[in-house]
Symmetry: C2
Subunit: 364 residues, 2 copies
């Protein structure tokens, strides 16, 4: 997929200060596309977007060349890197239906994961041990049931949900608040690489964008917008997860919350949500049923195959392979590979052959 | 108050086998009262209640004389003992509005507590330590806010709710499933005495009735029927508390539930209720607000004084008294008295006078 032909025009529009997504959308609608916007007469800019935006469009955005170079460098850094714009057929439809979709998304990994049926799993950065266990378990179960887990790569609940989902069929997508050339927080570098390899990393920020506090609530609207519903695992009152939940409600999506002790500060946000109408959930099955996806989700969605295949099954392909070859394909440690292969064997999805070879069993 | 003039006629009707409350109500409505029912011709009994009930009415109920003697003996055992029938003006109005009100109630204590604004607090006999603490704290806070706490004197949540409520203004009422001449479970003897002294013990079963499993769900309908709403503190799935909650819903009353960990069996009943529409509550204030009683409850109910006064304030009366005199009046241990007096002093409701005397401060 890579980048659209008019990537440079989109990029320049997005780098223009004082323009904003609303005015950019108006300009795009009026002129027909990003190149047409840039070529339009300043009088038209002024008429549509006002004098301040028109002035900004008339000047070269600050550091444009440097930033464009960074964006090109990132895009050329691997075949798994893509740029999606509002105009692309692959732009995730659910996100398009929201009040304020991003104009452009940087994606590293499987672009199709963004449009797949999925649920946001979010929560506190300072989750309790039980909260982290719950995030991991719900992430795993949702992914296993064929629902992509969308989250924000943050410390705490986000990371645990991603980790849980990586072991399931549908995988996981991390929407981050920085450019995709860096990982924030740094300690999630290895997790980000696994997500990119088996799901997708997504950002609306161009490469080079550092972590800025104001960008994270913006990022939350994308997580909510990509998802059929949002699960809040643990959240204090006045937490960012409640913003995500509110954005989900505004987008007409379901909100789910896990209850806890009335004496636990990290459950108060969840309880507030339930009081306001969020669905109390005890299991991933509660979510699947509420989304009316039936059991299993894939069947109700009319899919014979899991929505996104287990990354290990994908790496297995259809020929017998050694565990070493699988290690090379996935980049996973041998111990993790052995455990996952055993699980798949027990599920009847993988056969162990003589000579240390493994082979996928289709239709098992 | 004591017993109605026609107590013996009511008693005989209630002791008649194969009659049941529905048919008894039909007979009472057709004939005008219990004496008139007993004096009506057998043909009328047959017409209204059918042949089996008519046959039973024509015979003396088994052990009638012994049972009547037990009932009279109980009633004569103290001036705090009362019999309330459907026809009494003091019969609690909310209970009268339910689908199946008891025909007769044995009451030991303050009859007016049954008609006061109140909330049922129920839950598991095998509650967790946290569940017991919650029951105690909600019982205390509701009673403090002027709401009588109705419960069932059972082990676990019931007893903790009663205990908490005894320290508050409005007090507590225990609806039991045995005759009032015995206490079940036995270890709640002292608790039952305190409830009778500062609230009320209630039963629809005549003295001499032993604890029978089938009577306890019946008892639950009275707890739910007396209450503006029912709070379930902790409950496993398939627990008696869920029956009480269902009966509350059927009577058009609110149901409240305290959430907990999704991994705690004793929270699963509460979570099931919340999923079915019960209100998740974190504090007693949540209940008061949901009942639209405002804050404090008394003010919204149009009462200047607490609905039922703090039992200690009542014992204090309006003259200075010694702590020994209070001990004699309340039967409370000196240590408990000292703690409660200090609390009331801190609340500005009691003044400590020279010479170890205490006096109530009205309008403080």
């Amino acid at each position: 997929m890579g980048a659209p032909d008019d990537f440079e025009a989109w990029f320049r529009l997005l780098q223009t200060p004082n323009l904003g997504r609303d005015k950019t959308r108006q300009l795009l609608a009026a002129c027909g596309g990003p190149l047409a916007v840039l070529r339009a007469p300043p009088a038209q800019w002024r008429q549509i977007a006002g004098p301040t935006a028109a002035d900004a469009l008339g000047r070269e955005p600050p550091e444009l060349a440097t930033r464009w170079q960074a964006a090109r460098a990132w895009l050329n850094g691997g075949s798994d890197r893509h740029v999606l714009t509002l105009g692309d057929a692959a732009f995730p439809p659910r996100l398009l239906q929201t009040a304020d979709p991003p104009l452009l998304l940087y994606v590293q990994g499987r672009v199709e994961a963004l449009a797949a049926a999925g649920v946001a799993v979010v929560g506190s950065r300072r989750a309790t041990a039980q909260g982290l266990d719950n995030a991991r378990a719900f992430g795993a179960a949702l992914s296993q049931q064929g629902l992509v887990v969308f989250s924000g790569l943050a410390l705490g609940v986000d990371a645990a949900a991603h980790e849980g989902a990586l072991g399931g069929h549908a995988g996981t997508v991390a929407v981050v608040g920085t450019g995709l050339d860096s990982v924030y927080p740094l300690r999630h570098q290895a997790l980000a690489e696994r997500i990119a390899a088996h799901g997708a990393l997504v950002s609306e920020y161009s490469p080079g964008m550092p972590p800025l506090a104001e960008n994270f609530p913006q990022r939350n609207r994308i997580i909510a917008g990509l998802s059929l519903g949002t699960l809040v695992v643990e959240a204090a009152l006045q937490s960012g997860s409640l913003i995500t939940a509110r954005l989900a409600l505004e987008a007409g999506r379901e909100v789910f919350a896990i209850p806890g002790s009335i004496h636990a500060p990290q459950s108060k946000g969840c309880h507030a949500l339930i009081k306001q109408g969020a669905k109390l959930v005890e299991t991933a099955q509660d979510i699947v049923e509420e989304l009316r996806l039936g059991t299993p989700a894939q069947a109700a969605l009319g899919l014979d195959e899991p929505l996104i295949e287990d990354p290990l099954l994908q790496a297995l392909g259809h020929d017998p392979v050694t565990i070493d070859a699988l290690g090379a394909r996935t980049g996973w440690p041998a111990a993790e590979l052995a455990v996952r292969l055993l699980e798949l064997e027990l599920e009847g999805r993988v056969a162990r052959l003589p000579g240390g070879l493994y082979q996928q069993r289709r239709g098992a």
